[in-house]
């Protein structure tokens, strides 16, 4: 059966009254977490996962992914209206979005953002639809060494391509791996690194860590700035919406280019945040005429938004096909999948086609639902930010702790949420990236297992990672991603320095 038939079958799964209600609910919840500082997509999804245990996996993933789209939309809303990025990936949207809104064109700015976000997302889903079957066939040829090589590739891409200092990324990654290895070792059954704490025997749940790192951590960062929201008018004028839509085709080149950047960064683990910055930067370089960027240029909104959303949706492809998520939120969702008893990877396509294609089909629908809903509800959600922080802040804190507790009903987890909140704050302030920590925590066991099995295959020789063309080329690509970007940067810096000296 071709991808198209499978997709149609997926639409059959996705379009039921129950699933449509879940999509609307998910998008609305996502908008709430996207708008509120301290509640972002990764920990919004983490907070929701314990509540999905009663749903069947297809409904659950539709709810969670819809929440993700909603959060992405919500993040752009606050960037434009309040100059506060609700999500790290919508930081680049503030550069031109807020100036445009301040100049009295908030409807135009929001419509540009939402429409290009929707376009980016649909472009991403289209790529997933086309590549999904092929990617899973490809991944079926994988053995343990190939899997380890792919995990290594994901880690290497974070180190080489991330915007943070590579050494700090290494710190994040290895901390995640160590946190994942606490508790029962699933190969030998030995108890590791609990240091006598019986509470740690079961391991540390990545959900608790995400809630602390992203929830409490970001809230602390907001508090120290002494929250002052200065929003611009959030009324939506329907005529402006249509006028802006008519204006969109003029920017087709920017949209398409940004969409492609997003797709690339979404499939390789660059992530939506890096994609939006990169796309903004390239759009600025590509334009030569008109007002400078940063003063409310339409391209300055279209570029980051399109890339952000196409990267966000494309991040689902490696997660489903290879079991390697390329964004923090995708990592959390993959953890959810494993909790529901599904194994992400190529076999998922063969054993659970309804799940995979239902999800892909739902991505089309819920993104369209998202664009419509967000345009309708912007004034309402913008009002959320006008609630004084003395009330909304503690409520977010309480929700985070309650969410941490519901993961496994352990009161020790409350301390972990607090601890990781402090870590998250410190790491954010010092430019340690958080996404690699989450990724490596989710992948830790799988990476270690794959390494262990490869070592058994080869009697402990590292040559197994170069033993056939497939694994060898993945490893070579990983090493190239690890070293090349920084080497090129260094080279560029040296060349620039020479004429000066």
């Amino acid at each position: 059966m071709g991808n198209f038939d499978l997709l149609m079958q997926g639409f059959g799964v996705a379009i039921t009254p129950m699933h449509l209600v879940l999509m609307v609910a998910g998008v609305l919840l996502g908008l709430v977490v996207g708008v509120l500082p301290g509640l972002g997509a990764p920990n919004g999804v983490s907070l929701l996962i314990p509540l999905t245990f009663t749903l069947d996996p297809t409904s659950a993933i539709i709810l969670l992914s819809s929440m993700y789209w909603g959060a992405l939309f919500g993040g752009s809303t606050t960037s434009i209206l309040f100059n506060i990025p609700g999500e790290p990936s919508s930081v680049a949207t503030t550069f031109d979005g807020y100036p445009m809104a301040k100049a009295g064109q908030s409807t135009r700015a929001l419509t540009l953002a939402f429409m290009s976000a929707g376009f980016g997302a649909l472009l991403g889903v289209l790529v997933i639809t086309l590549l999904a079957g092929w990617a899973s066939d490809f991944a079926l040829r994988f053995g343990a060494p190939e899997y380890f090589a792919v995990y290594f590739l994901a880690f290497a891409a974070f180190i080489g391509m991330g915007s943070a200092s590579p050494v700090k990324t290494v710190v994040s990654l290895s901390m995640g791996l160590l946190l994942a290895s606490v508790g029962m070792d699933n190969v030998t059954g030995e108890v590791r690194l609990t240091f006598g704490f019986s509470e740690l025997l079961g391991g540390i749940s990545f959900l608790v860590v995400v809630i602390g790192l992203f929830g409490i951590g970001e809230l602390l960062a907001t508090v120290q700035e002494g929250l002052k929201f200065r929003g611009v008018s959030s009324r939506i004028d329907l005529r402006d919406v249509f006028r802006t839509m008519a204006e969109l085709p003029r920017y087709w080149a920017t949209s398409l280019r940004s969409g492609l950047i997003g797709i690339w960064m979404g499939i390789t683990p660059g992530g939506p945040t890096a994609a939006s910055f990169m796309s903004y930067g390239i759009a600025r370089q590509a334009s030569r005429k008109g007002e400078p960027f940063g003063t409310g240029r339409p391209e300055g909104i279209i570029a980051p938004e399109t890339a952000d959303h196409s990267a966000g949706s494309c991040a689902m492809l490696p997660m489903l096909a290879l079991g390697v998520p390329s964004s923090a939120t995708a990592a959390v969702m993959m953890g959810g999948l494993m909790i529901w008893g599904l194994t992400p990877g190529p076999m998922l396509f063969a054993t659970k086609p309804d799940f995979v294609w239902g999800l892909i089909a739902s991505m089309y629908i819920s993104n369209v639902v998202g664009v419509i809903l967000v345009l309708m509800t912007v004034p309402m959600f913008a009002a959320l930010l006008r609630i004084p922080f003395a009330i909304i802040g503690p409520m977010i804190v309480a929700i985070c702790f309650v969410g941490g507790y519901t993961v496994s009903g352990a009161s020790f987890d409350l301390w972990l949420v607090l601890l990781f909140g402090l870590v998250g704050y410190l790491f954010t302030r010092l430019d340690y990236p958080l996404a690699p920590l989450v990724l490596s925590m989710v992948l830790g066991h799988k990476a270690e297992n794959a390494f262990y099995q490869s070592m058994i295959l080869s009697d402990g020789s590292l040559k197994v990672f170069f033993s056939n063309p497939l694994v060898g080329s993945i490893m070579a690509l990983a090493l190239a991603l690890l070293i090349l970007p920084k080497l090129l940067q260094l080279g560029g810096r040296l060349r620039r320095r020479q004429p000066v000296e």
Partner: protein, 169 residues
Amino acid sequence: MTVRRFHAEIGAAIVTGALGLAAMIGATELGVGWEESGPQSGYFPFYVGLILVGASLWNLVAAFLAHRATVAGHARTGEAEEPFLDSARLGRLGRFLAVMLAFVIVTLVMGIYVGSASYIAYSAWRGGYRPLFALAMGVGFALALYLVFEVAFLMPLLKGPIEPLLGIY
């Protein structure tokens, strides 16, 4: 009191390095070598810990180098090193954290409902709301938690000594 970025960087590097070291020590107890069936269970954590220690040392040195550069720059341009937390921010953060810590402790003793109700009521009251309104906010929030988690999703939350008296288990 002002915390400089330099101090924060050093603190972070020391903490992450200590974590790596702890993992290495913990892994050594499990055995980090090879046995017939493959690597021992401490093998993976040991080397990851080693990498973490190495990266932390690198960050430590980088922080010192950056500090020296800014101090030298300071002498030239008169520009001070960027503060990590000035006293106003430190105060705000400290107060918020202290109340949060109290919330966690109250929650562990009295349960989530009492904990969150009193936490939100206290914060709203400190935020300038009338005591009665603040209390209503707190109780309303706890009630919403109860309806969402226990009634709608059948998920029990942590309870203290008060809830059984009200007939809630």
